[in-house]
Every structure is written in C-alpha cells, then in structure tokens.
Amino acid sequence: MNEIDPSKYQNIINRSTPKPKKNYLKGLLIRTMVVIVLFLSIAIFYKSNTDFKNIIDKYIYSDSISFTKIKKFYNKYLGGVLPKIKEENTSLVFNEKINYISKEKYYDGVHLEVESNYLVPSLEEGMVVFIGYKEHYGNTIIIESLDGIYYWYGNISNTSLKLYDYIEKNTFIGETSNDLYLVFSKDDNYLDYEEFIN
C-alpha cells in the first residue's frame, strides 16, 4: 500500500471546510456606498443632459405601471397567473347590462338616468385603479380593463371595492340614485360612449 498523498485530495478537503463568515456590516456599507454613487451619478446626469431628463420625465414621473397590460401578456403567452383550481362561472353574476331610462352627453362621457337605488354592474373585467372624488362626476370608481380602457363610474355610493381589487364582468360595483355618469377613456383620449352602451 502506498502512502496517501494529501495534495491529491486538497480539493475535497477544501470543499468540506466551512467558509469563513464575511463581515456583515462591511458588506452592507459597501452596498450602501454603491447605491449612493449610482443615485448621485444619475442625478448629475439628469441635471446636465436634457434628452435624458425628458426620458425620465416621460416614463418615470408621468407614467404608472399598467398591471392589466402585464396581465393580458401573461394570459396570452403563459396561460394565466393564479395558482388555483378552475372555477365555474356562477359567481355573483346579477345583471347582464345597465338598464337606463334615458341618456344624454355629459362633459366627456354620458349621463344615464336610472331607477333610484340602482345596483351598478361592471361592464368589463378589470382592476380598480381609482376610488375617490372627481369634478362633475361625484364619487367615482375607475376600472382599467385588460384592453387598457378606463371605465369611469360616477356618482356611486355604497361600494365594497378597494384599490387594486380585480373584478369580473357583471359583478357588483356600487349603488347609485337616479343619475349615473359613465366615461370611457384610453391613453388620455375620451372614447365615444355609443360603442359601449346600446
């Protein structure tokens, strides 16, 4: 039998010995310094270069991330997002379309006259992106559909929706009395309401 040559097994010995612990504080400091340097360099560049300033203003300050557009991409190429069982479509559908007495143009949208205490259904599947007060429309809920169209529902009371809820088509949005305002917009343009309401 030959003697065991330790240099032959150096690799294995090295692998099994535990690695020395890195200094946590040192690593944190280095990372913070890198972030500060990056931030300052972008800030200086933003001040000095007008083209760069315009890009930043356009895409970061004025545009918000569109969740529904990304969801449409996921649905199209990856088959959906949610890890869940298949559901039957029997959930909460209570109204097929909006029943109204009369309609007329109202600012950028349409004014529908409906019964008192009317329950408003959602016209399209989408995500709640705004809940609050809008001028001329009262308490407004804005829902962004998967096509990127914003559906505004004005003069709504008694809603159970919260920001960033996903709602299905024909589910309950809220209650309204006599006057319902609807606005349809896409990319800052207001769309013709005749397309959405027959």
């Binding site: 529904t68 959906g80 890890p83 869940k84 298949k86 559901e87």
Partner: protein, 256 residues
C-alpha cells in the same frame, strides 16, 4: 418557534410565481396563499416537534410546501399519519378563523372569496397522492401497514405516476406556467425517491439491527426484502428458524 421560522426556504419556482403576481397587481392573492401555505407547513412542523422528530427544513412551493423531517424510519405509523394530516387540519382551522371573521363583518367578501378559493385549491392539491405531497405520505403509511415496506414504497411510486397522468388529463387546475414548474418539481422528487429506494431500505434494516423495537404481531418470512414496518420477524432458512436480530447481525457482519 423562532428556530422554526429560520428553517423556511422559498423555492425558486415560488419566487417566479410571486414575481408574476406582483407584476400583475395581485398583492392580496399573494399574501393570502402564502399565509395559507405557511400555516399548513407549521401544522406539520408543530406535530413533528410534539413527537420529538427533528425538522430539517421547510420549503415553500407555488401550490403548497414541503416539511422535510429528519427522523428514524421505524417510528409509529399512526403518529406519522397524524403528522401527515396535521397540515390539512391546521389549514382548515385557519380557514375557519377567516370564516368567523367574515361572518362578523371584520373582513370583506372579496378577501373571503380569495381565501376560500386558495384554501380549496391547496386542499385538493395536497390530497393528490403524488410523492412529495401529503396524499402520497398517507398512502405510503397505510400501505406499509398491510404490505411489506419494499412493496409499499414501490406501490407508492406507481400510484404517483398514475395520479400524475390523471392530474394532467383532468382539467382541475388552471393550466399555466406555474403548474408546469410544479409538475417538474414533482417528477424530480419521484425520481429522487426511486433512486434512493435501496438506500432507504438499508437504513430501515440497519435501524432494526441497531435499536430495540417492540411489535405485537409476528411474521415468519424467508427473504430479508420482505420485512414489514409494523411486525416482528422470524426468518426461516435451511430448515431452521432464527430471530430477526440474530439474522440481521449475521447479515451486517458478513457484509462488512
């Protein structure tokens, strides 16, 4: 408890899924199903600690989790079944709490519906008998009560394959990228289990040789590969009968 939480690992498939949910704005969905998975796994972990098993690590996958328990193979089968079921029980208890809060108008209907959906999904997914899931653990333990340990393990693998095929053909779940990732993880686990079959059986034999166990039922066999998990054996060979310990001692010493 503090020790348990440090053992939680998030698998990369879970992180890919979480990224998708965050990008599409499903924040409440993400929080709800992650909380369900963690409660489920803590159920396994707490019962395992109660029976004084050691917990190796807790891995979180997209549709459920996996608690790796470092224990001896020759433990009481009924205790192991309790550990395997406890996840489902804890998850159901958590859901009952949510139901109670919903009935008292503390949480909204929207949130309750999401809880109900994910609770149902995870319950169905975990009951399927595919190898790392709870269903297969229960099936394996019940089989090892009535068949020998080797056969029980092999049958579990066959049942896993059959249920994977059925699972793919029946459209129970939404078909998307996450289910493909999860099926990859499942197949990998089945392959690992298949590769380790002999190793597991040898460990089982070695434990029988090293430690002292008491069983009520006896069994006379002639082949070492036909040992039961819940019986004491007598070996019949060359016309004489030997006790289990004696036979295994001969086996291990000759091999060495």
């Amino acid at each position: 408890m503090k020790n348990l939480l440090t053992k939680i690992n998030f698998h990369y498939t879970y992180i890919i899924l979480a990224l998708g949910l965050v990008l599409t704005g499903h924040f409440s969905n993400l929080i709800i199903f992650t909380s369900l998975i963690i409660i489920h796994e803590l159920g396994h972990a707490l019962l395992a600690l109660y029976y004084k098993y050691k917990i190796d690590k807790i891995i979180i996958y997209p549709y459920g989790g996996l608690t790796k328990i470092d224990k001896k193979i020759n433990t009481n089968i009924n205790n192991d079944i309790v550990v395997a079921i406890s996840g489902l029980i804890f998850q159901s208890m958590y859901f009952m709490l949510v139901l109670f809060l919903y009935k008292n108008n503390i949480i909204r209907e929207y949130i309750y519906n999401l809880f109900y959906l994910y609770h149902k999904s995870m319950l169905i997914f975990n009951i399927i008998p595919i190898i790392p899931l709870d269903g297969s653990k229960i099936v394996n333990l019940i089989l090892s009560k009535y068949f020998n340990y080797n056969l029980a393990n092999k049958l579990t693998i066959i049942i896993s394959f059959i249920s994977i095929v059925i699972f793919l053909y029946s459209n129970i779940f939404d078909k998307n990228y996450s289910i493909i990732m999860v099926i990859g993880v499942l197949l990998n686990n089945i392959y690992k289990f298949y590769k380790e079959l002999n190793f597991i059986y040898n460990r089982f034999l070695l434990e029988r040789y090293l430690y002292k166990y008491n069983y009520k039922k006896d069994k006379i066999i002639n082949n070492m590969n036909k040992m039961y998990k819940n019986r004491r054996h007598y070996f019949k060979y060359n016309g004489k009968i030997e006790e289990e310990k004696e036979y295994l001692e001969n086996f291990f010493k000759k091999k060495y």
